[in-house]
Protein backbone atom coordinates (compact mmCIF):
# COMPACT_ATOMS: atom_id res chain seq x y z
CA UNK A 1 0.00 0.00 0.00
CA UNK A 2 2.74 2.39 1.00
CA UNK A 3 4.83 1.34 -1.99
CA UNK A 4 1.94 2.05 -4.33
CA UNK A 5 1.43 5.48 -2.86
CA UNK A 6 5.10 6.46 -3.07
CA UNK A 7 5.43 5.01 -6.60
CA UNK A 8 2.67 7.24 -7.91
CA UNK A 9 4.33 10.39 -9.30
CA UNK A 10 2.85 13.79 -8.53
CA UNK A 11 0.60 15.10 -11.29
CA UNK A 12 2.96 16.77 -13.75
CA UNK A 13 2.31 20.37 -14.63
CA UNK A 14 2.01 19.51 -18.33
CA UNK A 15 -0.83 17.08 -17.68
CA UNK A 16 -2.63 19.77 -15.68
CA UNK A 17 -2.24 22.22 -18.57
CA UNK A 18 -3.58 19.69 -21.04
CA UNK A 19 -6.59 18.89 -18.85
CA UNK A 20 -7.32 22.56 -18.19
CA UNK A 21 -7.13 23.43 -21.90
CA UNK A 22 -8.28 20.20 -23.52
CA UNK A 23 -11.29 21.71 -25.29
CA UNK A 24 -9.35 24.50 -26.99
CA UNK A 25 -6.39 22.24 -27.79
CA UNK A 26 -8.61 19.52 -29.23
CA UNK A 27 -10.24 21.90 -31.68
CA UNK A 28 -6.92 23.59 -32.50
CA UNK A 29 -5.27 20.27 -33.35
CA UNK A 30 -8.24 19.00 -35.34
CA UNK A 31 -8.32 22.35 -37.17
CA UNK A 32 -4.68 21.90 -38.21
CA UNK A 33 -5.35 18.33 -39.37
CA UNK A 34 -8.44 19.38 -41.30
CA UNK A 35 -6.76 22.31 -43.07
CA UNK A 36 -3.81 20.05 -43.94
CA UNK A 37 -6.27 17.58 -45.45
CA UNK A 38 -8.01 20.40 -47.30
CA UNK A 39 -4.65 21.55 -48.71
CA UNK A 40 -3.82 18.06 -50.00
CA UNK A 41 -7.27 17.48 -51.51
CA UNK A 42 -7.44 21.01 -52.92
CA UNK A 43 -3.99 20.64 -54.48
CA UNK A 44 -5.02 17.40 -56.20
CA UNK A 45 -8.26 18.96 -57.45
CA UNK A 46 -6.45 22.06 -58.73
CA UNK A 47 -3.89 19.96 -60.59
CA UNK A 48 -6.68 17.84 -62.10
CA UNK A 49 -8.14 21.01 -63.60
CA UNK A 50 -4.73 22.09 -64.95
CA UNK A 51 -4.17 18.63 -66.42
CA UNK A 52 -7.54 18.77 -68.16
CA UNK A 53 -6.48 22.07 -69.76
CA UNK A 54 -3.02 20.61 -70.61
CA UNK A 55 -1.29 23.26 -68.48
CA UNK A 56 1.66 23.07 -66.07
CA UNK A 57 0.78 21.45 -62.75
CA UNK A 58 2.08 22.93 -59.48
CA UNK A 59 3.61 21.63 -56.25
CA UNK A 60 1.79 21.52 -52.92
CA UNK A 61 3.97 24.36 -51.65
CA UNK A 62 3.01 26.50 -54.64
CA UNK A 63 -0.66 25.60 -54.18
CA UNK A 64 -0.60 26.92 -50.60
CA UNK A 65 0.22 30.40 -51.98
CA UNK A 66 -2.52 30.37 -54.62
CA UNK A 67 -5.68 32.43 -54.52
CA UNK A 68 -7.59 29.17 -55.12
CA UNK A 69 -6.51 27.84 -51.70
CA UNK A 70 -7.01 31.23 -50.03
CA UNK A 71 -10.58 31.67 -51.22
CA UNK A 72 -11.53 28.11 -50.25
CA UNK A 73 -10.20 28.73 -46.72
CA UNK A 74 -11.59 32.21 -46.15
CA UNK A 75 -15.07 31.57 -47.55
CA UNK A 76 -15.54 29.07 -44.72
CA UNK A 77 -13.85 31.22 -42.09
CA UNK A 78 -16.09 34.22 -42.75
CA UNK A 79 -19.26 32.17 -42.43
CA UNK A 80 -18.14 30.54 -39.18
CA UNK A 81 -17.31 33.88 -37.58
CA UNK A 82 -20.55 35.35 -38.93
CA UNK A 83 -22.39 32.46 -37.29
CA UNK A 84 -20.90 33.17 -33.87
CA UNK A 85 -21.22 36.94 -34.34
CA UNK A 86 -24.94 36.55 -35.02
CA UNK A 87 -25.38 34.02 -32.26
CA UNK A 88 -23.66 36.18 -29.65
CA UNK A 89 -25.59 39.26 -30.81
CA UNK A 90 -29.01 37.74 -31.39
CA UNK A 91 -29.11 35.92 -28.06
CA UNK A 92 -28.90 39.27 -26.23
CA UNK A 93 -32.44 40.05 -27.30
CA UNK A 94 -33.99 36.97 -28.89
CA UNK A 95 -35.15 34.10 -26.69
CA UNK A 96 -36.12 30.49 -27.33
CA UNK A 97 -38.44 28.92 -24.81
CA UNK A 98 -37.05 25.59 -23.55
CA UNK A 99 -33.61 26.00 -25.13
CA UNK A 100 -30.38 25.90 -23.12
CA UNK A 101 -28.95 28.20 -25.82
CA UNK A 102 -31.35 30.95 -24.70
CA UNK A 103 -31.38 33.08 -21.60
CA UNK A 104 -34.31 32.85 -19.24
CA UNK A 105 -37.39 34.50 -20.68
CA UNK A 106 -37.31 37.57 -18.40
CA UNK A 107 -33.67 38.40 -19.18
CA UNK A 108 -33.90 39.79 -22.71
CA UNK A 109 -31.55 42.72 -23.27
CA UNK A 110 -28.15 43.73 -21.96
CA UNK A 111 -29.17 43.11 -18.31
CA UNK A 112 -28.40 45.17 -15.21
CA UNK A 113 -24.94 46.14 -13.92
CA UNK A 114 -25.58 43.86 -10.96
CA UNK A 115 -26.23 40.84 -13.17
CA UNK A 116 -23.24 41.67 -15.36
CA UNK A 117 -20.89 42.46 -12.44
CA UNK A 118 -19.92 45.89 -13.72
CA UNK A 119 -19.72 49.35 -12.16
CA UNK A 120 -20.26 49.20 -8.41
CA UNK A 121 -20.87 45.46 -8.72
CA UNK A 122 -17.45 44.60 -10.16
CA UNK A 123 -15.41 42.18 -8.09
CA UNK A 124 -11.76 42.35 -7.13
CA UNK A 125 -11.01 39.63 -9.68
CA UNK A 126 -13.06 41.22 -12.48
CA UNK A 127 -11.04 41.98 -15.65
CA UNK A 128 -8.95 45.14 -15.41
CA UNK A 129 -10.88 47.03 -18.09
CA UNK A 130 -14.14 46.35 -16.23
CA UNK A 131 -12.74 47.87 -13.05
CA UNK A 132 -11.27 50.79 -15.02
CA UNK A 133 -14.72 51.95 -16.16
CA UNK A 134 -15.28 54.59 -18.88
CA UNK A 135 -14.58 53.72 -22.52
CA UNK A 136 -12.55 50.66 -21.54
CA UNK A 137 -15.54 49.11 -19.80
CA UNK A 138 -17.81 50.06 -22.70
CA UNK A 139 -15.49 48.41 -25.24
CA UNK A 140 -14.84 45.37 -23.07
CA UNK A 141 -18.59 44.90 -22.54
CA UNK A 142 -18.91 44.20 -26.29
CA UNK A 143 -15.43 42.80 -26.98
CA UNK A 144 -16.57 39.31 -27.96
CA UNK A 145 -19.05 40.65 -30.50
CA UNK A 146 -16.53 43.23 -31.78
CA UNK A 147 -13.77 40.66 -32.33
CA UNK A 148 -16.08 38.09 -33.94
CA UNK A 149 -17.54 40.77 -36.20
CA UNK A 150 -14.11 42.11 -37.14
CA UNK A 151 -12.75 38.67 -38.01
CA UNK A 152 -15.90 38.00 -40.06
CA UNK A 153 -15.52 41.21 -42.05
CA UNK A 154 -11.78 40.72 -42.61
CA UNK A 155 -12.29 37.09 -43.70
CA UNK A 156 -15.06 38.15 -46.07
CA UNK A 157 -12.84 40.90 -47.48
CA UNK A 158 -9.99 38.45 -48.05
CA UNK A 159 -12.48 36.01 -49.62
CA UNK A 160 -13.56 38.71 -52.07
CA UNK A 161 -9.97 39.62 -53.00
CA UNK A 162 -8.62 36.07 -53.28
CA UNK A 163 -11.88 35.04 -54.95
CA UNK A 164 -11.36 37.70 -57.62
CA UNK A 165 -7.87 36.37 -58.36
CA UNK A 166 -8.95 32.71 -58.35
CA UNK A 167 -11.98 33.41 -60.54
CA UNK A 168 -9.91 35.50 -62.97
CA UNK A 169 -7.24 32.79 -63.19
CA UNK A 170 -9.98 30.35 -64.13
CA UNK A 171 -11.46 32.82 -66.66
CA UNK A 172 -8.04 33.30 -68.29
CA UNK A 173 -7.69 29.52 -68.63
CA UNK A 174 -11.02 29.59 -70.44
CA UNK A 175 -9.86 32.48 -72.70
CA UNK A 176 -12.20 34.97 -71.06
CA UNK A 177 -11.47 38.52 -69.88
CA UNK A 178 -10.80 38.93 -66.15
CA UNK A 179 -13.15 40.84 -63.85
CA UNK A 180 -12.25 43.72 -61.53
CA UNK A 181 -12.73 43.35 -57.75
CA UNK A 182 -15.89 45.48 -57.97
CA UNK A 183 -17.12 43.36 -60.86
CA UNK A 184 -16.49 40.18 -58.87
CA UNK A 185 -18.55 41.51 -55.95
CA UNK A 186 -21.56 41.37 -58.27
CA UNK A 187 -20.62 38.02 -59.81
CA UNK A 188 -22.57 34.83 -59.23
CA UNK A 189 -19.40 33.03 -58.09
CA UNK A 190 -18.91 35.39 -55.13
CA UNK A 191 -22.49 35.16 -53.92
CA UNK A 192 -22.73 31.42 -54.54
CA UNK A 193 -19.61 30.83 -52.40
CA UNK A 194 -20.90 33.22 -49.72
CA UNK A 195 -24.52 32.11 -49.47
CA UNK A 196 -23.86 28.37 -49.64
CA UNK A 197 -21.80 28.79 -46.47
CA UNK A 198 -24.23 31.14 -44.75
CA UNK A 199 -27.23 28.87 -45.26
CA UNK A 200 -25.50 25.87 -43.68
CA UNK A 201 -24.32 27.88 -40.66
CA UNK A 202 -27.75 29.37 -40.07
CA UNK A 203 -29.42 25.97 -40.35
CA UNK A 204 -26.96 24.50 -37.84
CA UNK A 205 -27.65 27.28 -35.33
CA UNK A 206 -31.43 27.00 -35.75
CA UNK A 207 -31.18 23.22 -35.31
CA UNK A 208 -29.11 23.56 -32.15
CA UNK A 209 -31.46 26.15 -30.62
CA UNK A 210 -34.58 24.07 -31.30
CA UNK A 211 -33.38 20.45 -31.01
CA UNK A 212 -31.80 21.16 -27.62
CA UNK A 213 -35.31 21.89 -26.29
CA UNK A 214 -36.28 18.24 -26.68
CA UNK A 215 -33.01 16.30 -26.95
CA UNK A 216 -30.28 15.82 -24.33
CA UNK A 217 -26.62 14.86 -24.09
CA UNK A 218 -25.72 13.77 -20.62
CA UNK A 219 -22.67 15.64 -19.35
CA UNK A 220 -22.53 18.29 -22.07
CA UNK A 221 -22.88 21.95 -21.09
CA UNK A 222 -24.52 22.49 -24.48
CA UNK A 223 -27.47 20.40 -23.29
CA UNK A 224 -29.93 20.74 -20.46
CA UNK A 225 -29.64 18.10 -17.72
CA UNK A 226 -31.19 14.88 -18.98
CA UNK A 227 -34.08 15.10 -16.57
CA UNK A 228 -34.84 18.80 -17.14
CA UNK A 229 -38.30 19.67 -18.42
CA UNK A 230 -38.69 20.59 -22.08
CA UNK A 231 -40.07 23.95 -21.01
CA UNK A 232 -37.16 24.98 -18.76
CA UNK A 233 -35.18 27.76 -20.44
CA UNK A 234 -31.61 28.93 -19.94
CA UNK A 235 -30.57 25.83 -18.01
CA UNK A 236 -27.29 24.16 -18.96
CA UNK A 237 -26.19 20.68 -17.93
Amino acid sequence: MTARLTARPPAPRARGFLRDNALGLFFLVTFVLAIAGQAIAGHADFNNQLAADQLQQISLGEYLTTSDFAVDVTENWQSEYLQFFLYVGATIWLLQRGSPESKELHKAGTESDREQLVGAHANADSPKWVRAGGWRRAVYSHSLLLVMGTIFLLSWLVQSISGTAAYDEQRLRQLQAPLSWAGYLGAADFWNRTLQNWQSELLAVASMAVLSIYLRQRGSPESKPVGAAHGSTGVEG
Binding site: D53, Q54, L55, Q56, S67, A166, L172, L175, Q176, A177
Partner: protein, 136 residues
Protein backbone atom coordinates in the same frame (compact mmCIF):
# COMPACT_ATOMS: atom_id res chain seq x y z
CA UNK B 1 7.03 39.22 -23.88
CA UNK B 2 5.29 36.40 -25.70
CA UNK B 3 2.71 38.85 -27.01
CA UNK B 4 5.34 41.30 -28.30
CA UNK B 5 7.34 38.47 -29.92
CA UNK B 6 4.16 37.27 -31.60
CA UNK B 7 3.35 40.80 -32.83
CA UNK B 8 6.86 41.21 -34.25
CA UNK B 9 6.68 37.81 -35.98
CA UNK B 10 3.30 38.58 -37.53
CA UNK B 11 4.47 42.05 -38.64
CA UNK B 12 7.59 40.63 -40.28
CA UNK B 13 5.62 37.88 -42.02
CA UNK B 14 3.05 40.39 -43.28
CA UNK B 15 5.75 42.77 -44.49
CA UNK B 16 7.73 40.04 -46.23
CA UNK B 17 4.58 38.54 -47.70
CA UNK B 18 3.26 41.87 -48.93
CA UNK B 19 6.52 43.17 -50.35
CA UNK B 20 7.49 39.77 -51.71
CA UNK B 21 4.07 39.37 -53.28
CA UNK B 22 4.21 42.80 -54.95
CA UNK B 23 7.72 42.20 -56.22
CA UNK B 24 6.77 38.79 -57.57
CA UNK B 25 3.64 40.16 -59.24
CA UNK B 26 5.64 42.94 -60.95
CA UNK B 27 8.31 40.48 -62.02
CA UNK B 28 5.71 38.08 -63.41
CA UNK B 29 4.02 40.90 -65.35
CA UNK B 30 7.40 41.85 -66.84
CA UNK B 31 8.07 38.22 -67.77
CA UNK B 32 4.67 37.97 -69.49
CA UNK B 33 5.34 41.17 -71.45
CA UNK B 34 8.76 39.87 -72.44
CA UNK B 35 7.31 36.64 -73.84
CA UNK B 36 4.60 38.60 -75.67
CA UNK B 37 7.28 40.88 -77.14
CA UNK B 38 9.36 37.88 -78.28
CA UNK B 39 6.27 36.34 -79.91
CA UNK B 40 5.28 39.58 -81.66
CA UNK B 41 8.81 40.35 -82.87
CA UNK B 42 9.20 36.85 -84.30
CA UNK B 43 5.80 37.11 -85.98
CA UNK B 44 6.64 40.51 -87.49
CA UNK B 45 9.95 39.17 -88.85
CA UNK B 46 8.35 36.00 -90.20
CA UNK B 47 10.64 33.94 -87.94
CA UNK B 48 8.04 31.26 -87.37
CA UNK B 49 10.44 28.85 -85.68
CA UNK B 50 10.88 31.48 -82.94
CA UNK B 51 7.12 31.89 -82.79
CA UNK B 52 6.82 28.14 -82.22
CA UNK B 53 9.46 28.27 -79.48
CA UNK B 54 7.18 30.37 -77.27
CA UNK B 55 3.96 28.43 -77.93
CA UNK B 56 2.50 26.28 -75.13
CA UNK B 57 2.88 22.52 -75.77
CA UNK B 58 -0.86 21.89 -76.25
CA UNK B 59 -1.18 24.87 -78.61
CA UNK B 60 1.76 23.68 -80.68
CA UNK B 61 0.32 20.14 -80.83
CA UNK B 62 -3.11 21.40 -81.86
CA UNK B 63 -1.60 23.61 -84.55
CA UNK B 64 0.47 20.78 -86.05
CA UNK B 65 -2.34 18.24 -85.88
CA UNK B 66 -4.98 20.49 -87.42
CA UNK B 67 -2.68 21.61 -90.27
CA UNK B 68 -0.78 18.37 -90.76
CA UNK B 69 2.43 20.39 -91.03
CA UNK B 70 5.38 21.18 -88.78
CA UNK B 71 4.75 24.15 -86.50
CA UNK B 72 6.75 26.85 -88.40
CA UNK B 73 4.98 26.01 -91.67
CA UNK B 74 1.60 25.84 -89.93
CA UNK B 75 2.08 29.27 -88.32
CA UNK B 76 2.92 30.75 -91.71
CA UNK B 77 -0.32 29.39 -93.11
CA UNK B 78 -2.45 30.96 -90.37
CA UNK B 79 -3.83 34.49 -90.66
CA UNK B 80 -1.82 35.74 -87.67
CA UNK B 81 -0.67 39.35 -87.91
CA UNK B 82 1.56 41.35 -85.53
CA UNK B 83 -0.65 42.87 -82.84
CA UNK B 84 1.23 46.10 -82.12
CA UNK B 85 2.12 47.61 -78.77
CA UNK B 86 1.05 46.30 -75.39
CA UNK B 87 -2.04 48.10 -74.05
CA UNK B 88 -2.47 46.15 -70.81
CA UNK B 89 -1.36 42.96 -69.12
CA UNK B 90 -3.35 40.93 -66.57
CA UNK B 91 -1.65 38.21 -64.55
CA UNK B 92 -3.55 35.93 -62.15
CA UNK B 93 -1.59 33.02 -60.74
CA UNK B 94 -0.06 31.11 -63.63
CA UNK B 95 -2.40 32.56 -66.26
CA UNK B 96 -2.12 35.86 -68.12
CA UNK B 97 -3.65 37.99 -70.86
CA UNK B 98 -1.86 40.65 -72.86
CA UNK B 99 -4.01 43.07 -74.82
CA UNK B 100 -2.16 44.52 -77.82
CA UNK B 101 -3.24 47.34 -80.15
CA UNK B 102 -4.90 44.93 -82.57
CA UNK B 103 -4.64 41.49 -80.95
CA UNK B 104 -4.93 39.69 -77.63
CA UNK B 105 -2.63 36.92 -76.38
CA UNK B 106 -3.34 34.43 -73.59
CA UNK B 107 -0.31 32.98 -71.81
CA UNK B 108 0.38 30.34 -69.19
CA UNK B 109 3.40 29.70 -66.98
CA UNK B 110 5.46 26.55 -67.49
CA UNK B 111 8.74 25.33 -66.00
CA UNK B 112 10.53 26.83 -69.02
CA UNK B 113 8.78 30.19 -68.58
CA UNK B 114 5.68 31.91 -69.95
CA UNK B 115 4.26 30.44 -73.16
CA UNK B 116 1.54 31.62 -75.52
CA UNK B 117 -1.60 29.52 -75.15
CA UNK B 118 -3.75 31.44 -77.64
CA UNK B 119 -3.13 34.21 -80.18
CA UNK B 120 -5.09 36.14 -82.76
CA UNK B 121 -7.93 36.46 -80.25
CA UNK B 122 -11.03 38.61 -80.70
CA UNK B 123 -13.34 39.35 -77.77
CA UNK B 124 -16.97 38.23 -77.92
CA UNK B 125 -19.63 39.32 -75.44
CA UNK B 126 -20.32 36.84 -72.60
CA UNK B 127 -18.33 33.98 -74.21
CA UNK B 128 -14.61 33.13 -74.56
CA UNK B 129 -12.44 34.99 -77.07
CA UNK B 130 -12.36 33.58 -80.57
CA UNK B 131 -8.71 32.77 -81.36
CA UNK B 132 -6.83 31.92 -84.56
CA UNK B 133 -4.56 29.50 -82.68
CA UNK B 134 -5.18 27.93 -79.29
CA UNK B 135 -4.64 24.70 -77.38
CA UNK B 136 -6.90 21.68 -77.65
Amino acid sequence: MIRSAYAVTVSVLLAVGTLGGCDTAAQRRDDVRHTAAVFEKALAEGAYDRVCAVLAPATLDELEQSSGSPCPKAVGEESLKPGGGVQRTDVYGDQARTVLSSDTLFLSHFTSGWKVVAAGCEPRPEVPYECVIKGG
